[in-house]
Subunit: 351 residues, 2 copies
């Protein structure tokens, strides 16, 4: 038996998992997620938050191993990725001075802190590798479509390991393997520059008046609880407030345009977001001969149902698997924090 | 002689002008502008800020009249426009209980506070009317192209008064008469969803990593002083920091892509912003028979040179006038705060 902590340090959410692992089929998982936009917080608050998460998850249990994935180095809390990786990893060194710490890399291998600091680009934004390796255990050949709150990963998996053309975020963006759109935080101008109103097409404001979370709340895709980021105007996660936010994107308010007109706008934005993700998926499919519509597509993340499954069906995939249903593990199973902890556990058991 | 205060209450900048007016050709102007994003401040701070501006501009001078234009009611500091107009105007009532207060309306007329509260949609976001009426004194038939920090107004003027098809912000957006793009605050995804890098086209992040102000700073269109809004990351208004911000839009940093690659991205975004404004201008031109390329186009605002003039030339206007040069009054002449004060002065002299 081994007790393992897994962390996925994002720029917006920090996720933690604590796993008590007896065997591949016998383990306990506790998870938590903290909303912590890095660029709004003093870097000093980061170690404190990690400590709180450790206490919340592990309590008095002895922790024997710690796995880490990160993407927060891309946030503008850091001037360069190097600065970000260094700050995040040295923080973990101070918090866990004694136990082994393993960071996932784009080479599908774990690195020590020393190795990761040396080759920081190998661990920068490599959290998708953890998820892909984990999914690859069950689906050795598939396309993984992971739609989270902020981004979408499209990851071809072959022989159980990720087989993307791009490895860095920029190269993954270029190859359609990373799409910077997600179920909650996407801004409206990143989805569309114009929306329909009264039979016309209206250009919109660039102000952060609303988020795609408002659209998905209005369309009953997410609950107020699942709306786990700040609202654009600091008001409530209610339909009424979401409608008011959406009205502002064309410089109107809820006294000037009707609820049904706002639902028309919400539906339009939803369609455009589906298009945006479908375009990336088509790019991945057409750029390689070894993946086609007969390959299983595995969907996960908060947007797995109303975005991922919908797109996979539209494009015509023949085998669509919901990772959560398939594995029978609760919601966050695809979270890199859980994935890295389980991967480490298996590696530990194998030695 | 009359002493007049003019205010333009924007959601981001509050501008004030104090005019000591002896005659149409003999007057003194003092102006100031305060960066005050309404949605980040407690509403209680607004009257305090106005008092400070009055002291700074008028000192011990007696104020006899106050002109007001507003757009801040569209900001999400207020739930509806009605709430915004009411809060802003009642604040002025408290600050100037004794003197006449005049608010410009979309009917090209001044309203009293009582009238404006009654017909709040007539004064909501009507600041462009003040500028247009003022410009119409000198150019009775023209197209006014006013590109500020945040928005672009395209206003056909006929017989000295604004002749737009739209009157509200939403209707002006629909008719190409208001474009929500400007010289400083535009977010990158509101300009383009993809940028060129290394011979490819890269989809971008939606995070507020950079602003169009970074592009215009890098291209020497504006000085660090003219970069009068907050930077996206809270860092400096230097070329080095602007380059770092721009690199983040494709999830890179300045160690991963070169300065010349970043200048290529900046130039691309500049071109797209020119296209965006030109599209609105063409829409206005093609939707009416009474304006063509022989009509004078009057450019003003911070973007008058590197955006407005450039677009006017490209489209083929034969007479392009820079309002500041033409009138020989300093920079902010086209600011609705100055315009409304001068309009009120003339009206006062005429009575």
């Amino acid at each position: 038996m081994v007790n393992i902590m897994g962390f996925d340090v994002g720029g917006v959410n920090i996720k933690g998992a604590f796993i008590t692992h007896s065997s591949k089929t016998d383990f306990d998982i506790k998870i938590c997620s903290k909303y912590h936009p890095m660029w709004l917080h003093n870097p000093e608050e980061f170690p404190k938050l990690l400590q709180e998460m450790i206490t919340e998850l592990a309590g008095d249990h002895l922790i024997e191993l710690c796995g880490i994935t990160l993407t927060a180095e891309v946030s503008d809390a850091y001037f360069t990725k190097k600065e970000g990786v260094t700050h995040i990893l040295t923080t973990f060194s101070k918090i866990f001075p004694q136990i082994p710490k393993k960071i996932i890399s784009i080479y599908n291998k774990f690195l020590s802190i020393t190795e990761a600091l040396e080759d920081y680009m190998a661990v920068a934004s490599a959290n998708w590798v953890a998820t892909a390796l984990f999914v690859g255990r069950k689906f050795p050949k598939c396309l993984l479509l992971d739609i989270g709150s902020t981004t979408t990963d499209i990851i071809p998996i072959a022989d159980g390991i990720p087989d993307t053309i791009g490895k860095t975020d920029m190269d993954r963006l270029l190859n359609g393997e990373l799409i910077y759109t997600g179920a909650l935080r996407s801004t409206i101008p990143s989805i569309a520059h114009k929306v329909p109103i009264r039979g016309k097409i209206c250009p919109i404001s660039f102000e952060k008046f609303a988020l795609i979370a408002d659209v998905h709340l209005l369309l009953n895709h997410i609950t107020a609880d699942e709306y786990s980021c700040d609202t654009a105007d600091g008001r409530q996660k209610t339909n009424q407030d979401a409608l008011a936010r959406l009205a502002r994107i064309i410089c109107a308010d809820i006294e000037l345009i009707s609820e049904s007109e706002l639902y028309e706008i919400a539906n339009y934005l939803y369609e455009r977001q589906l298009d945006q993700i479908a375009e990336g998926l088509r790019q991945v499919l057409t750029s390689r001969e070894d993946y086609d519509l007969t390959v299983p597509i595995v969907v996960t993340g908060l947007g797995r149902d109303f975005l991922a499954k919908k797109i996979a069906k539209k494009i015509g995939f023949q085998q669509i698997f919901d990772l959560q249903e398939k594995l029978g593990i609760k919601g966050a199973v695809a979270s890199p924090a859980v994935a890295i902890a389980l991967l480490l556990a298996e590696e530990y058991e194998a030695t």
